[in-house]
Every structure is written in structure tokens, then in C-alpha cells.
């Protein structure tokens, strides 16, 4: 009886995951979708704890070690809730990466325990028939271990990179070394599948996989981390599905594959928004080919604008479009930005935001940040809408964005970002660019926009500049 109820629990779990993800793809229902998936997850977890039975030597057992299970659940819930509640909005991507790594590690640990269990049942000298019989299980266990530990190690490095603790690190021949490491991990895995009595090899595979995870993410630049996290996210999904295969557990299987497929597509969508292929993100390091293009360089002078002039231009404009970027997120200036928007709106200026799909650290990151600062959802324009409005805009204020407004993406086929869709800020009457310095952006290329006659530069930290602008406009 209890077994059938558990089946229904798992069925409910699978359905809520699908419905939850579906609802997450619509702003109006997203929050509900998340809660539905969470509810389904709780049902599946509680069902497993109380209803799961397994057969051993002909007798049916319930799960034991309840004290340990509940202790782990309790501690995990408390730490998880507290850290998720306390994290700064700007640090969200790091947090996602960290939690993803936990899932990967969990999958790897399951594989280790299950393998020990398996090799114990095989004994020291198993017969060929026993080995044959165990092969599919060994394959799944080893796959779960490799994918889980690569995901764990990679996520930890991605987390370290996003919060600045780990610096980019690459050396010549690193790609070749990575391929060799991955190949040896796979070769060892194949050997182990045919010789499962050599059980210590499992730890060799673990070591090689962790090594691969670390060196696979190491050379990838900080701004590409979202793509990497999304990819590792789908890896963990596949690792979870391996567990589902192992236990013939449908909710793990469906949940894992669902995330694996959706995560892979999301990764590709993110790459597309940056007009880069996944291969290019993972293998081609951007900095290497950027040097040659910046050498061709754009000559010219840029023009600076004073704070009071900028304040004046903006308060007498009819329509101002704000283009937020990475610099806004780094300076945590979203609240000040909203304040400026309110002050300008009170003066009768129409203010809207133009959001490039890859502005910030993750697609949609700017929307989350601005939403945190209470900016209304209605005045956030997506790229296509914004490009229709630039022609009727008096002032464009660019806050720490660079590559997403670089006209070279349209005009210079030699540019590494050629073909990337950009915000056509040049159509506006005046462009004010806030940056910390003239240093090129992430892609390492000059931006001819900054040298255009209608562009003026307003140097400084985004938050400081916005505060000063607010003060100036209020006093004007």
C-alpha cells in the first residue's frame, strides 16, 4: 500500500516540476510556479523518508537512520534559508552557483557510497557473470560521479570568480591538458566498468574529474560565468538523472532530465544573445584575439561633461532613457538610480530603462536589480522596444555599460563582437556615458561611441555620480 502512495507522491513531484518550470517562464505566474515546484519537492522528499521500502535478502525494509536524516535536513534548511535570505541582490549569481555545486557534490557522494556497496557485494574475486551483471550499474554510478564532481568543482571556481576570490588563470596548452585529463578520467571509468574489483580506481576518477572541473572553468573570464553556471546547472541535472536511473526513481529521472534539457537550451540562448557559440565561450579565450583588433584602434578625442551640465541637460529633456550595465551592478547603484528616475519624473521628464539581454552578470540580472529598487516593471524596455524609442529620446544615460552599446558590432566585421545585437543609442539626440575610466569593457575593444560628437563622458563610480546628479537636479 505505502509503495503505491509513494508512486503517487513521485508522480505529483514530476508534474509539479514541469508545471513549475512552465509557470516560471511567464512573469505573471513565475512566483507561483516556483512555490508549486517547491511543494512538489517537499511531497517527494517526505514520501521518500516515510514510505520508501527496499528488498534485502527477501525481507522488506523501511529506511532507517531517521535521526541522521532529519538532523541533516534541519541543518541544511536553516543554513540554506538564512544564506538565501541574507544574500545581496548583486550576489545572486554567485549564490546560484554555490547551491548548484552542492547538488553536484551530493550526486558524487551518492555514487561513492553506492559503488562501495556494489563492490562489497561483488567481493574480491567476482565471476565474469557477476561483473557482466553489474556493468550497467557501474556505468551509471561512474557517470554520476564524473558529472557530479565536475559540476561541483566547476561551480566552486565559478563562485570564487564571481565574488573575486579566484582570478583568471590560464597557460599555454591548457586546453590540451584539459582534454587529456578528461580522456584519462573516461578511460579509467571504462577500465573500472570491466574490472569493478579494482575499487580504489573510483577515487582516481574522482580526483581527475575534480581537477578537470577546476581547470575547465579557470581560464573562462568573469563575464562569461553566467553561461558556465547555466551549463554546470544542466550538468547537475544530468547527474541527478543518473541517480534516478540507479534507483529506478522516476521523480529524480524526470526532474534531472528536465533541468538538463532546459539548462542546455538556456545556455545556448545566453550565448546567442552575446552572438557567440558555446565552443567559443568554453575554449576560445576572448582576450587573445581582442589584442589584434584594439591595435587597429580608434583614434580621436573624447569629450567630458561636468555634473551640473549633465544635470541640466537631463532635467530639461522630454524623454530620458537609462541604459544600465555591469558598472551599475558593481557599484550597487540601483537604488540611487531609481531615486534619479523619481526626481526626473517629478520634473515632468519621461524616464524609461533600456535593458540589453546580456547587460550585467546574467541575462535578466538588470531586471532583478532594478526590481529590487522598486522600479516599475512597465518602464523596463527590452532591446527591440528600446531601439524603437531611441530616435525620439533626448538624453541617453549609459551607466557602466560598454559592449552592449558598441556600434562596432554593426559596422566593423573585424570586431570580435560583430553581429551581436546592440542598443542603438546613437539615434538619440545626446548620449551621456558614465564609466569609471576610458578602459575598454569586457571584450577588450575600444568603443567608437565614446568618441562621437554627440557623446559626452561623465567619469566616476556609478553610485557616486548618480548621488551627485540627484543633488544637482534637486537644487536646480
Amino acid at each position: 500500500m505505502s509503495q503505491h502512495i509513494l508512486t503517487i507522491c513521485y508522480l505529483i513531484g514530476s508534474i509539479t516540476f514541469i508545471i513549475g518550470l512552465k509557470m516560471l517562464s511567464n512573469p505573471a505566474s513565475a512566483r507561483k510556479g516556483n512555490l508549486i515546484a517547491a511543494a512538489g519537492m517537499s511531497i517527494a522528499i517526505l514520501g521518500t523518508i516515510f514510505l520508501f521500502t527496499y528488498d534485502e535478502n527477501g525481507t522488506v525494509h523501511h529506511l532507517g537512520n531517521y535521526i541522521w536524516i532529519f538532523a541533516a535536513l534541519l541543518i541544511g534548511s536553516i543554513i540554506g534559508t538564512l544564506s538565501a535570505k541574507k544574500v545581496q541582490m548583486t550576489a545572486m549569481p554567485e549564490m546560484v552557483s554555490l547551491f548548484n555545486g552542492m547538488g553536484g557534490a551530493c550526486a558524487a557522494l551518492i555514487s561513492i557510497v553506492e559503488f562501495n556497496h556494489l563492490s562489497k557485494s561483488l567481493g574480491a574475486s567476482p565471476t565474469t557473470e557477476m561483473i557482466h551483471h553489474a556493468q550497467p550499474t557501474t556505468l551509471i554510478i561512474v557517470l554520476g560521479l564524473i558529472i557530479g564532481s565536475v559540476s561541483f568543482a566547476g561551480s566552486m571556481i565559478a563562485w570564487g570568480k564571481l565574488n573575486g576570490k579566484v582570478k583568471d588563470f590560464s597557460f599555454t596548452g591548457q586546453n590540451i591538458l584539459n582534454i587529456i585529463v578528461l580522456a584519462s578520467a573516461l578511460a579509467t571509468a571504462v577500465y573500472l566498468i570491466f574490472n569493478p574489483q579494482q575499487h580504489s580506481l573510483l577515487y582516481v576518477i574522482l580526483g581527475l574529474s575534480v581537477f578537470y572541473g577546476v581547470f575547465f572553468v579557470m581560464p573562462i573570464g568573469g563575464a562569461d560565468m553566467p553561461v558556465v553556471i547555466s551549463l554546470l546547472n544542466s550538468f547537475t541535472g544530468v547527474a541527478a538523472a543518473c541517480g534516478g536511473f540507479l534507483y529506478d526513481n522516476k521523480v529524480m529521472l524526470t526532474g534531472g532530465i528536465l533541468v538538463g534539457a532546459a539548462g542546455t537550451l538556456l545556455t545556448i540562448l545566453m550565448c546567442k544573445a552575446m552572438n557567440r557559440s558555446l565552443k567559443n565561450v568554453l575554449i576560445g579565450s576572448f582576450g587573445a584575439n581582442a589584442k589584434s583588433t584594439s591595435a587597429a584602434g580608434i583614434q580621436g578625442d573624447h569629450k567630458e561633461i561636468s555634473l551640473s551640465d549633465a544635470a541640466m541637460v537631463m532635467s530639461y529633456a522630454n524623454k530620458v532613457l537609462i541604459v544600465p550595465g555591469y558598472g551599475l551592478a558593481v557599484a550597487q547603484a540601483q537604488h540611487t538610480c531609481h531615486e534619479l528616475e523619481k526626481i526626473l519624473t517629478d520634473k515632468g521628464v519621461e524616464v524609461k530603462y533600456a535593458i540589453h539581454p546580456v547587460a550585467g552578470r546574467m541575462p535578466g540580472h538588470m531586471n532583478v536589480l532594478l526590481a529590487e529598487a522598486d522600479v516599475s516593471y512597465d518602464i523596463l524596455l527590452e532591446m527591440e522596444q528600446a531601439n524603437d524609442e531611441f530616435a525620439t529620446t533626448d538624453v541617453v544615460l549609459i551607466l557602466g555599460a560598454n559592449d552592449v552599446v558598441n556600434p562596432a558590432a554593426k559596422s566593423d566585421p573585424a570586431s570580435p563582437i560583430y553581429g551581436m545585437p546592440i542598443l542603438d543609442v546613437q539615434l538619440a539626440k545626446t548620449v551621456i556615458v558614465n564609466k569609471r575610466s576610458m578602459k575598454p569593457g569586457y571584450a577588450g575593444i575600444e568603443n567608437e561611441l565614446f568618441f562621437k560628437p554627440k557623446t559626452s563622458m561623465l567619469f566616476g563610480d556609478a553610485k557616486k555620480v548618480l548621488q551627485d546628479l540627484c543633488a544637482e537636479i534637486k537644487n536646480a
Binding site: G80, K85, I110
Partner: protein, 102 residues
Amino acid sequence: MQQFLQFITQNQEIFYTVILMIFVGIEIIEKVPSVLHTPLMSGANAIHGVVIIGAIIVMGKAEQDNYLAIALGFIAVLLGTLNVVGGFVVTDRMLEMFKKKK
């Protein structure tokens, strides 16, 4: 070869599930507006925390005197819980801010 084919036949249900789920996953994500990419990634991250069920099974099956299995299982359940609970709470926090303001 014989064995391999037999393996596929025996587990055909699983292979069907996998293939159908791949299409469902792709279909669901396809129409997502880019503003929701971050919350969506975070939500998907929480969902793959379902791996915790495997950890609970490992933990619950461990014999009382198998300290290694108990220790590893404990850590696995703990990490899995972090993935699930943290993932859903972070996603909820992000989405809380998407409320339409009048």
C-alpha cells in the same frame, strides 16, 4: 552486443522517459522572455536538487556500523537540502521583486 541490446529492452521505459523529458524541457523554456532568465536558472537549479532523494535513500539504507556510509550520506543529505531549500528561497526572493507596481 547481445547484452547491450538486452539492456535497452529491459530499460526501455527509462529511455522513453528520458527522450520525452528532453523535449518537454526544451519546449517549456523556448518562450521565456530574457528578463526571466536568471530566476528561471535559479528555479531549475532548485529542481535538480531532487538528487536529495537519492541521498536520503543512501542514508536510510546505511547499516548502523558502516560509519563511512553514514558520514557520506549525512553530508550528501545536508548538501542536497542546501541545494533544494536555498534554491527555492533565492528564486522566491528574486521573483518577489517582479510584482507589478502601480
